[in-house]
Symmetry: C2
DNA sequence: ATTATTGTATTAGTAGCTTAATACAGTAAT
DNA sequence: ATTACTGTATTAAGCTACTAATACAATAAT
């Protein structure tokens, strides 16, 4: 997953979303040590303060644990990981339907488009 | 469709999205006269300058026509309306799949969730 | 013990978004 | 002709996000 940002949203909140996704999808394994704030800031090409701000949010959610001098680790609680993953997915589904209905699409048309898109893309 | 904004994106760009949706979904009919900038600014509870900025974008896209002293009208070109509607829908579908795959969902899981959501919501 | 690395905090400057308050020119309505 | 309404432009102020440049305390590594 790439570190691409769109200009229309604050970077720190996009960082939160990206880091959450990397964690719950397993790209960062449960219990694994995360790169340091400075290191990740370089990787993502953002200011360390901005990365720090994103991590404050992840810390608040409980997805990461912080040891002041030895760095951060991903939570090892599998229930939390599953739950956050489901929440994020649910949010995407709801948002998708909300937007499509605003455009005037019916449930049937929406699922047809989804099935069509799934069959056209690379499998898995 | 309501005039609700989230804090994480510029209001003018959210206005563009809302106005586009109202137009291509038919809430604002083809050829119809639109409320004035000042009037819409009051309705949406934003500054007239912000609403003006949004309309500049719609004007640039060709979705509305501007008569300097008599106001704005929705385009009467049905092809343009259909095309923009499809573009917006396609964007939502693509974004939905992109985000779900980042979370580690397969095509099959994605379409299952979509079908499930469609059957649970109010029909149509 | 010394060094390097960790998270964290602070201060300053820049840029963009939004609001506010006007103002102007053209036209429709009266 | 006067009035009201149209889109449009300008200037100023306030706020937030972001970057930059440091600094400090705690700990791991040497």
């Amino acid at each position: 997953m790439a570190w691409n940002f769109d200009d229309n949203r604050p970077i720190y909140s996009q960082l939160v979303e990206i880091l959450e996704t990397k964690i719950v999808s397993g790209e960062y394994q449960p219990g694994a040590k995360l790169p340091s704030v400075r290191e990740l800031a370089i990787t993502a090409a953002v200011n360390p303060n901005t990365m720090q701000r994103a991590f404050s949010e992840l810390e608040r959610e409980g997805l990461v644990n912080t040891n002041r001098t030895s760095g951060r680790t991903v939570t090892e609680d599998p229930n939390m990981l599953r739950q956050v993953r489901s929440q994020l997915a649910r949010g995407h589904v709801d948002y998708f339907f909300k937007k499509m209905k605003e455009l005037g699409y019916t449930n049937q048309e929406i699922t047809s488009l989804a099935n069509e898109a799934a069959s056209k893309e690379d499998n898995q």
